[in-house]
Symmetry: C2
Subunit: 680 residues, 2 copies
Amino acid sequence: MPGHFPKGMSLAKKTAAANGRVQRVIIENVKPEVEDGGFPVKRIVGETVEVTADIFADGHDRLSAEVLYRPASQAEWVRVAMVPEVNDLWTASFPIASPEDHLYTVRAWPDAFQTWAHDLVKRRAAAQDLSLQFLIGAELVASAAGRARGRDAERLRQDAKSLKQWGDSDPDKAYRLAEDEELLVLMTRYADLQTASTYPRELSVWVDRELAHFGAWYEMFPRSCTDDPARHGTFQDCIARLEYVAGMGFDILYLPPIHPIGTIQRKGKNNSTEPAPDDVGSPWAIGSELGGHTSIHPELGTLEDFKQLLAALKRHGMELAMDIAFQCAPDHPYVKEHREWFQIRPDGSVQFAENPPKKYQDIYPLYFDNEHATELTKELTRVVLYWAEQGVRIFRVDNPHTKPFALWEYLIREVRRQYPDAIFLAEAFTRPKVMYRLAKLGFTQSYSYFAWRNSKWELTQYFTELTQTEAADFFRANLWPNTPDILNEYLQFGGRPAFMIRLCLAATLGSSYGIYGPAFELCENRPVRPGSEEYLDSEKYQIRIWELDRPDSLKDLITRVNLIRKANPALRNHRSLQFHQVDNEQIIAYSKMSEDGTNVLLMVVNLDPHYKQSGWIELPLDYFRLEEHQPYQVHDQITGERYFWQGSRNYVELDPQQIPVHIFRLYRHLKTEQDFDYFL
Amino acid sequence: MPGHFPKGMSLAKKTAAANGRVQRVIIENVKPEVEDGGFPVKRIVGETVEVTADIFADGHDRLSAEVLYRPASQAEWVRVAMVPEVNDLWTASFPIASPEDHLYTVRAWPDAFQTWAHDLVKRRAAAQDLSLQFLIGAELVASAAGRARGRDAERLRQDAKSLKQWGDSDPDKAYRLAEDEELLVLMTRYADLQTASTYPRELSVWVDRELAHFGAWYEMFPRSCTDDPARHGTFQDCIARLEYVAGMGFDILYLPPIHPIGTIQRKGKNNSTEPAPDDVGSPWAIGSELGGHTSIHPELGTLEDFKQLLAALKRHGMELAMDIAFQCAPDHPYVKEHREWFQIRPDGSVQFAENPPKKYQDIYPLYFDNEHATELTKELTRVVLYWAEQGVRIFRVDNPHTKPFALWEYLIREVRRQYPDAIFLAEAFTRPKVMYRLAKLGFTQSYSYFAWRNSKWELTQYFTELTQTEAADFFRANLWPNTPDILNEYLQFGGRPAFMIRLCLAATLGSSYGIYGPAFELCENRPVRPGSEEYLDSEKYQIRIWELDRPDSLKDLITRVNLIRKANPALRNHRSLQFHQVDNEQIIAYSKMSEDGTNVLLMVVNLDPHYKQSGWIELPLDYFRLEEHQPYQVHDQITGERYFWQGSRNYVELDPQQIPVHIFRLYRHLKTEQDFDYFL
């Protein structure tokens, strides 16, 4: 079949929409657009969406183009004129003013009036006779009058008449009318859209609240909220500790799973397969005869205690993030009641988790490769909806990449439909394309590779990708220097300075970041064995007592950094991230700027936790709107120190034994003697 | 509406295709794919299509993936296994064996058998008990047997039985069977495709004959095939000149429009608006009372003469390219018979071509912005089909970018449907995105910016874009150093060496190239006035007599270059173009290699038409499969000179007064004394 066009493009189709008339304008390469519009773009309330598109037509007519957008609850499109840039690229932006999803698309048409008006200028400059041209213009205006109503129609009818009349009697007057700005506005408002092309897809924006994009997370084990290893911490103990956590400025308290812990094949301390009778087990081995994913571990308290914790968090201006780990201990009720949700082996036993030759006999994965996947998906959705009903809105999802994408696509949509303020954090430490897919299909944010990006080159590459490519439209990284599973080499060997460095990097490179504490602020850095990223005496398997008031705790620095984050809108604008040259590979420098350009932060970090490092930093003065010959001030938000810099190259020096980081606020305008009256 | 997904993704839909089972594999970023599959990829018979895709699933299962392709006339898909590369990228390629359009898509699934077999190796290495595993394997094989037929089914049933039986009695034997290559082939052939994901689009390949991609074009004015300016050349004169043109090795003879030339507002010599009575006019001012686009200018001959020309071309191994210029002289029959196909001004006159303040009163453009566009499109399609019926298959389309894209999309598809061997060359000297759009919608090839790309940087940039980006999948450039409209500065000032240089660049950078002769081979370089790209005494407005046997004619060089093109398959493989470093900005070096790697050409061109230039060229030895320590030969295909080179850096020197170009064929294997018997 020669001439095969997959999309179909019969002449009838091409012209049908326009009453036998041809749509001449092509609109392509619309951005932002995630995977051909198959997935939404993400924004939070208050952000803007900058839309670009390649727009062109045959011939030499002037085109008009506009972005059409609307909040999903509103039927009418709002029109925003697009502006042509170089090489047929057009741009416009629209605001996200309300906390609901938005839709947008692009429309463009050959603009006969603008073409006429533009040519008229050139004809007049060449002293050509314009009388016929005014007749042509009058026809265009009269035609627009036919599409207009009320006063607009009246005005257009009058202008058409005037153009015709003055065209003969007073060409100068007619010419002035042709160039009239108000007439142009009306002619655009009532443009002939019969031949307009509309981009075939309506693209969508998922609009979230600010915490979806910008927040500081604190993870802790509730059972360790105790001063006696023999006494299991409870939700009430958590409530008592909130002052400490909220005092450091965190927004979200994230707790590992709070459900009954399996007893069959329970793991002992340090992941031992031979537990002591009093070992508490891993919270991720979910379910026992006491209940499953909608039950609460009795040692933590009751549902009522849990609700009190939610209320206490609210009083502290915080929220709870719940751990969603869809896997079962062997004694989880599902195993008896729904064997069809597990893989059954030929000998009738349930398949446990394996990564051959490793066996995880304490965990039964759920099984989606049979015809019960739909029921199972609905049940798991019910679980999340249950907790949403109890007041939870933030869900940290454990290993989502080991369950089908379709589960999450369905579940997140369902929860979000009933609870539009729900937030899902994907704990998908896996391959890049899988992480991105989970983000596209609906996860609000995701853990990232930050923990393993420690050198200047790695950090620059990775965060340039996350903020300067299309990934920024759908993937929101959450930066964790540590987690209960990850105690990286850098922290193991870098001592307290390493913790300071990684904290500041996480808090300033990431809009969202989190720490697993109190291990983090107390600089816990002993691995279970050399070469492992697992903690020694990991809280995953035992209760730990933490000495929160140790003098070397980083809690004051953390408090300061979280204050800086809240006070500086630059840190909310991840798209503004720029890295700057420093002539020392151990020093990284980067900046962020608020959308309105008034708040600029410059971070300078010594990545070497052992030695003092110094170097010359090179700043793009134009970008910062600084003058080559006028000094400016950089004000360290951590120490309060102020430096006066001038020009693009300035010296920095950072000692890890003191504080290895500058978080400078940059002040453009310093007074000089020329600012005084007597110089005017 | 929170959770809005434009594509829709109900759970039902996600699982429907698979009997309630979930499709877990994601297939995205399939290449080649032109604009979301909206347009075909282009290939010629004998080429291959290399398909890549990002393919991944949740979890850790091993996946299988395949490209499905078929010639459009064949109902059954052919399956080609894809191979995983780095970062979830999979690849496969398929051949274009028949001269018809092809379709392809991608399918992938979690491969339970391969996962099982892969894990089995690890379990065995860990000395685990495998008996249960063999039962699991036997179930998988038995299930495949149920999907197979005949001997395959028999073999699979037998293997399932053996696995089960030997699993207990002879684990080593069972293990060997599990690893058996033939079993793997059968298990893939009869894989469980119930949970397979298929890429949602079937992509298409437009398959053309070789001339669509690789050919040498020669443009000439038939009326100048005369030795007396007062005697109008005819088709019969063209026939007589074919020996000259074919002798130079050209494949296609392209003639400007052959239709009756308008008499109203006819232009005189050098575009004068005051023609002499005997002025012949511009062939692009089409139509008079003698006829329009399906008529032949009587001064050239009759339809019979035209057919004789077609036959004569065929005898010379050549084809004719006809000029399709959809515009009318004021006395074209359409103007009287179909005023609705023109724009009528308020005073009742027909709108002539304008680019204000310039007026082209001899040309009436056709008008598509009313409800008659469909009829007009059909009429213009009829014109092309008429000439196709007369035997023309190659159409050089004048200014397609000044008519609606929808016209060409319809017309080319219609013509190609009836004449699959039709070739359309777009003369769209316009903005890049418009050029690309015309290529996407169906033009076989396109004029390019080559005429204005003269420096090393410009040439490198432009041809890297055309051959190394996705443009190579849909845009085929035709390179013309000159046309009747374009006598560029470089040719005006560079003398005969400039013509040699531009000829060789066009013929070796381009798979298709053309010259406008005899102006080109006779190095005609006088512009109508300084700063203009128009020729003095342009053939567009008058008959020119050319002294074909002038001793400084480039015809021998052209003949040689066209022979080199035919003899070296490397020059047909535009995707293989690579530029190489030379430490002199006036010398450009680049290579092409045949698909099988056996034919390698290295072009070295002195871009300075005035001075001798020399430099060191740097070749990637690995890429050419050359050894650092073994000399190789470069054999100049123009001069016959041979050089022995060694290592990656070699010296070149080119004198424009002699010949400013090397076209080296590179010979890898030189005999050395070690090749003789006595060394063995």
